[in-house]
């Protein structure tokens, strides 16, 4: 039999058409639920304090090894740079002045990319095709030369623990897709104009009504990009006489937005409400720098769910503080809207906090609803003013119709007006899946950060060499994960970030646990000491056998507090 010769190309190929039957394809985007046992309702018991997330620490030798690894990488990088500039000037052409023009970027600025990231470049930016649902199809590639890749046109269908697809709406077939397609027919492909000029259609108004009702606010504004929502928001609400108090782990878009507004910023320790209160008290007392005039207003900016740590903000306490000191509260629900709370209405729903007590709720449609863009929701007078002074309303494109179609239809599914029952199932599956995978990893002995109900599960790897190892081994086992390291995290806590989805089945998660177990044994990843739960016997490091984990996990993960067995 003649083997078909595959042609290698340097350009990413077009995906071949998939001729498997529709039912198979649907199942690959959203797995069927096998039994109702695999459901859970996520909700924080009212009145109970939020348990402080315990960040387990590895043995000191791991820290030491991590520092030494980076030291070696940096020293070797500098040595190579030093000699490279002499012997291979061509490779450094971009870093050297040429005919009186400065280089595009400094050698120092790009050192991290040239000398560290490039070694594990294949773990990032894997090109994909198709809907990134339960499975994600990554193009196979091999390293070619220093920076290039060769593609053979085949792809690897991996279980998807990498995409932001909390409720599993990344689908190319179904009611939401049909609705989005209908919107293309009825409204076109583009919004054609900024909102204030001629980019407002009845669909925009309907979409804003739907989202405002969903999050429990009087009115809302939608924006075509989540990043742009935050990056332009603060200019409308803050000026140089305003103080913005920001959590130290807030997303880049929030920090950029505050910088753009020219407001003063103070940072408080991540999720530390005591530090926050102390800071507010001092700031109110001290007033503005130099003049000591009182601040015009103080805005607290926090996120509902932190995407790198998997922590939730301590909303009940922050709301108390905010009321006590007459501050305003902005909550970025980029990751929590849809993913948390019994009704999927985000962090307020999860903690049973009245949304009216949060002044501005922001969120994105990328993560849970399979769309794109963001929203700001607040009181009517706020939003009305923002229709005239919010930068995106006047200077940037408005939300395109297909995206609104996806938003409206997915929200209808969640609320139960479209396909009754389906939304409920999705919400309870993400809650179950998050807890199931988190507890399983804890029992196996991995260090996992974050809150019990969080669908973001960072598995700590620490050593830089383990990041590509985990990524490549899991990729070969057909599991796609994201690895994150410096500068997105502190230098020593490199991690694999798993984003759980409602599209995954319990069997998928068992497969993930099995494979993680194998990888963890092979490259020594089971560092946990047991203080964050998961131990069979209290005080001992958890190192369950995988069979025991799979046998007990369904029941155990439904207990109110994960990993404490009495």
């Amino acid at each position: 039999m003649a083997r078909k010769e595959r042609v290698l190309t340097a350009n990413i190929p077009n995906a071949a058409p998939d001729d498997r039957p529709q039912e198979v394809l649907d199942e690959l985007e959203y797995g069927k639920l096998s039994t109702k046992r695999y459901l859970y309702v996520s909700k924080h018991p009212v009145g109970e304090p939020l348990p402080t997330p315990i960040d387990d620490e590895p043995p000191y030798i791991i820290y030491l090894a991590t520092y030494i690894s980076y030291l070696i990488l940096i020293i070797i990088g500098h040595i190579r740079d030093f000699f490279g500039k002499f012997f291979k000037p061509k490779e450094y052409a971009d870093l050297i002045e040429k005919d009186g023009y400065a280089p595009w970027y400094d050698g120092f600025e790009s050192f991290y990319v040239r000398r560290l990231k490039i070694r594990i470049d294949d773990c990032f930016a894997r090109p994909i095709h198709g809907a990134p649902g339960r499975y994600v199809k990554c193009f196979n590639r091999i390293r070619h030369g220093k920076t290039g890749y060769l593609y053979d046109g085949t792809s690897n269908e991996c279980l998807n623990l990498s995409s932001y697809n909390y409720l599993g709406f990344a689908q190319s077939n179904g009611v939401c897709t049909d609705y989005a397609l209908g919107c293309v027919d009825d409204y076109g492909t583009s919004a054609c104009s900024p909102r204030a000029i001629s980019g407002t259609t009845d669909l925009h108004q309907k979409c804003e009504r739907v989202i405002a009702d969903f999050v429990g606010k009087e009115d809302a504004i939608i924006v075509s990009q989540g990043y742009g929502t935050n990056a332009n928001l603060f200019s409308s609400i803050a000026d140089s006489k305003t103080l913005v108090i920001s959590d130290e782990l807030n997303h880049a878009s929030i920090r950029f937005g505050i910088r753009l507004s020219g407001a003063s910023v103070k940072v408080f320790k991540h999720n530390d409400t005591k530090d926050l209160e102390k800071l507010i008290r001092n700031q109110i007392a001290q007033g503005q720098p130099k003049t000591h005039r009182p601040w015009k207003k103080i805005i607290i900016a926090v996120e509902g769910l932190y995407s790198m740590e998997g922590n939730m903000c301590n909303l009940p306490e922050i709301v108390e503080i905010k009321d006590k000191y007459k501050c305003y509260l902005f909550v970025d629900e980029a990751h929590s809207i849809g993913a948390l709370g019994p009704g999927g209405r985000g962090i307020c729903d999860y903690f049973s906090v009245d949304p009216a007590r949060v002044d501005l709720l922001m969120g994105t449609f990328t993560k849970s609803f399979g769309a794109t863009g963001g929203y700001i929701a607040g009181d009517k007078y706020l939003i009305e003013k923002m229709r005239t002074n919010y930068i995106t309303q006047v200077y940037s494109e408005s939300v395109p119709p297909a995206v609104m179609g996806q938003i409206i239809s997915s929200l209808s599914v969640i609320e139960g007006t479209l396909n009754p029952g389906e939304g409920q199932e999705r919400l309870q599956r993400i809650a179950f899946n998050s807890r199931y995978l988190r507890l399983g990893l804890k029992k196996l002995g991995f260090i996992v950060y974050g809150a019990d109900d969080s669908p973001v599960i960072p598995v700590l790897l620490f050593l830089p060499a383990k990041m590509p190892a985990v990524s490549r081994m899991l990729y070969d086992m057909k599991i796609a994960v994201v690895i994150v390291s410096y500068p997105a995290t502190p230098l020593i806590s490199g991690r694999a970030r798993l984003c759980v989805s409602a599209a995954l089945t319990k069997e998928d998660l068992d497969y993930v646990l099995q494979k993680f177990n194998e990888v963890g044994d092979q490259i020594f990843l089971k560092f946990s000491s047991g203080i964050a739960g998961g131990s069979k016997v209290e005080g001992e490091p958890p190192r369950w056998a995988i069979e025991d984990v799979l046998a007990t996990n369904v029941e155990d993960c439904k207990k109110p507090k994960l990993g404490y067995f009495n």
């Binding site: 995906a15 985007e29 002045e97 400065a102 595009w104 970027y105 894997r126 090109p127 095709h129 198709g130 809907a131 990134p132 994600v136 995409s163 932001y164 897709t177 397609l181 293309v184 027919d185 492909t189 583009s190 919004a191 054609c192 104009s193 000029i197 980019g199 009845d202 108004q205 924006v223 075509s224 990009q225 742009g228 332009n232 200019s235 140089s240 880049a252 950029f256 753009l260 020219g262 008290r281 109110i284 007392a285 009182p294 015009k296 207003k297 007459k326 993560k367 609803f369 399979g370 769309a371 794109t372 007078y381 706020l382 009305e384 229709r387 002074n389 006047v394 940037s396 297909a402 996806q406």
Partner: protein, 579 residues
């Protein structure tokens, strides 16, 4: 550190308990010192330090003490460097005082409510019922839409819609991840290739929203200490981008090449001495959003090459509109794209899609993939939007006239010229308006006649000149301006009149005065020429415009009457159905 501990403890013990004989003290010190030093040798690497100390500090205790002091100082410096805050400025309060201050503090509202004089701004935003395009439904009435930035009317193209639908049926709507984490699909890569090829660039990169493109590209290359020489009429996105980048800014008068040359010559001696050379850019727009002028590109290229600057060009409005095949000002003037180091553009305008892009040399684009924050920290463009833009480029480039120009682009250009010439000739006989934009701009700007504005005592420019004069933006937002508000309102009345009497929707320059950092031109009426509109429909508009201006302005002939319009502004009722 162990040495320090040692000296203090032994001296205190010896002075209090033992007889104060100096010999004894010395002996104890020596003995303990050696013991401590020896124990240092047990630590990993300690032997080396020990040998170093022994060999270099023999018989020189003063030097040892001095070095020790230096060491302590360095340690203290590094440990305290995190707390930079100037403590001397802080006032000391007791907890009770802080409690009182907290109780007394009354903050301002989060946002000031819309005043009666501002509400009309919100009411005058038109709502389109159903499909957006060259002809739309407003208030249940079919009207011609001359307020859409989709100049080539590709939003109504069936093949473009088909491209969107087939992609959605394959990939869903959202991309569900940032480009660097499984958010890059084959369609994104295809579009990057298509854009680079279409605009004759080496490589290109996509952004999820057009407005954030400038604000992310400029700070990726311009840092503190870098220099850019900027046209003083640039759009809002670039103003904000420059502020965020914190680079040094020199302004030249809008499109004034002689002034640009003057400035470049003036700073040349300083630049020549600069070592190492910092990045230097000339920053300008292709087709200016605020004024409707086309940049004098050949002169700029000549100057930038002479003085060795790179050129940043914002082609947001010009791509798809200028040049025989819509390749923007570059094609308009027939200069090669490689002369422009960074070109940015929008796909939400002529490409009937969404998002922005940046085109240029390979190292420039690759650097953005890691260092440009709007690319790194936000989700990818939806895959279908990428496909739509690819299809739009195909529509523009595949259907060509005999002379090699694109059919739809040349159709649009003819309509622009038609309307422009008609309006210029009409404006000559009108007391109220004049054409303010250039002949090639697809957005025709009509400003109130200069002489008429003088009669009404209206200022030539609004906003704040601080940024221009100091290079640093004003710390305060612009105040609400009565005149700006009224002048905009007059134009809105013209728009409403045209909508009611000839079923045509036009627009006006809508800027947020309080956010603008540069001086703002007087409000202008804007007609967005659209390829889907016939010349008959354009003629109808051209005929009604002088009448509309006349109807609205005939009674407004003095500053007093102008101000009295404020009562009418307060009563402006929503002109459009809201859902």
């Amino acid at each position: 550190m162990s040495d320090v501990v040692f000296t203090t403890t032994t001296t205190t013990t010896t002075t209090t308990t033992l007889a104060p004989t100096w010999d004894l003290v010395e002996a104890t010190i020596a003995e303990n010192f050696v013991r401590y030093l020896d124990s240092l040798g047990n630590l990993p690497g300690g032997q080396i330090i020990l040998r170093y100390i022994k060999s270099s500090y023999k018989n020189d205790p003063i030097r040892s003490l001095f070095e020790l002091a230096l060491f302590i100082f360095a340690l203290n410096y590094f440990l305290s460097s995190k707390k930079k805050e100037n403590k001397s400025e802080l006032v000391k309060f007791s907890q009770r005082e802080i409690d009182e201050l907290c109780d007394e503090w009354v903050p301002e509202p989060l946002i000031k409510e819309l005043s009666d004089l501002e509400k009309w701004q919100m009411y005058s935003i038109p709502t389109i019922e159903g499909h957006n395009g060259s002809h739309v439904t407003i208030n249940n009435k079919k009207v011609v839409n001359l307020a859409s930035s989709d100049f080539l009317n590709l939003n109504e193209s069936e093949s473009v819609k088909e491209a969107a639908k087939s992609t959605i049926s394959n990939t869903g709507v959202g991309a569900c991840g940032p480009p660097n984490f499984y958010g890059t699909q084959d369609v994104h890569v295809r579009l990057e290739e298509d854009i680079a090829k279409y605009l004759d660039g080496e490589n290109s990169i996509l952004y999820g929203q057009d407005f954030v493109t400038a604000g992310s590209v400029i700070p990726a290359f311009l840092k503190r200490g870098d220099l850019c020489v900027v046209d003083s009429g640039v759009n809002f996105a670039i103003q904000k981008a420059l502020i965020v980048s914190r680079c040094n800014i020199e302004w030249y008068d809008h499109n004034d090449m002689d002034h640009l040359e003057e400035i470049l010559t003036e700073i040349k001696p300083v630049m020549d001495k600069q070592r190492p050379i910092r990045r230097r850019f000339i920053v300008t727009e292709g087709l200016f959003a605020n004024s409707g002028d086309v940049v004098n590109l050949p002169r700029i290229i000549e100057l930038k090459n002479k003085f060795k600057y790179r050129l940043f060009l914002d082609e947001t409005l010009s791509i798809g509109v200028l040049g025989a095949t819509g390749k923007g000002v570059v094609e308009h003037y027939g200069v090669p794209r490689e002369e422009i180091s960074i070109t940015i553009g929008s796909m939400a305008m002529s490409f009937a899609s969404s998002g922005g892009f940046c085109v240029g040399a390979n190292p420039m684009v690759l650097h953005q993939r890691i260092q440009s924050i709007a690319y790194v920290f936000s989700a990818s463009l939806p895959p279908y939007a990428a496909k739509v833009a690819s299809q739009a480029i195909k529509e523009i480039t595949s259907n060509l006239n005999a002379d090699g120009s694109s059919v739809i682009v040349s159709q649009l250009q003819k309509k622009v010229t038609f309307a422009y010439e008609k309006l210029v000739s009409l404006s000559k006989s009108s007391k109220f308006f004049e054409v303010a934009s250039g002949p090639h701009s697809p957005i025709i700007h009509l400003a109130l006649n200069t002489q008429y504005r003088e009669e009404l005592n209206l200022p030539t420019l609004y906003g704040s000149p601080v940024f221009l004069s100091t290079g640093k933006p004003s710390k305060f937002l612009n105040e609400f301006d009565d005149y700006y508000n009224i002048e905009s309102f007059l134009l809105q009345k013209v728009i409403d009149y045209v909508l009611d009497h000839s079923s045509t929707l036009i627009s006006r320059s809508k800027l947020i005065l309080e956010h603008e950092n540069l001086p703002v031109l007087a409000p202008r009426l804007q007609i967005y020429i659209n390829n889907g509109v016939t010349t008959e429909e354009l003629s109808r508009l051209v005929q009604i415009l002088p009448i509309a201006f006349n109807e609205v302005l005939k009674n407004v002939d003095s500053e007093l009457k102008l101000i009295s319009l404020n009562s009418e502004i307060g009563n402006y009722k929503p002109h459009y159905i809201n859902y």
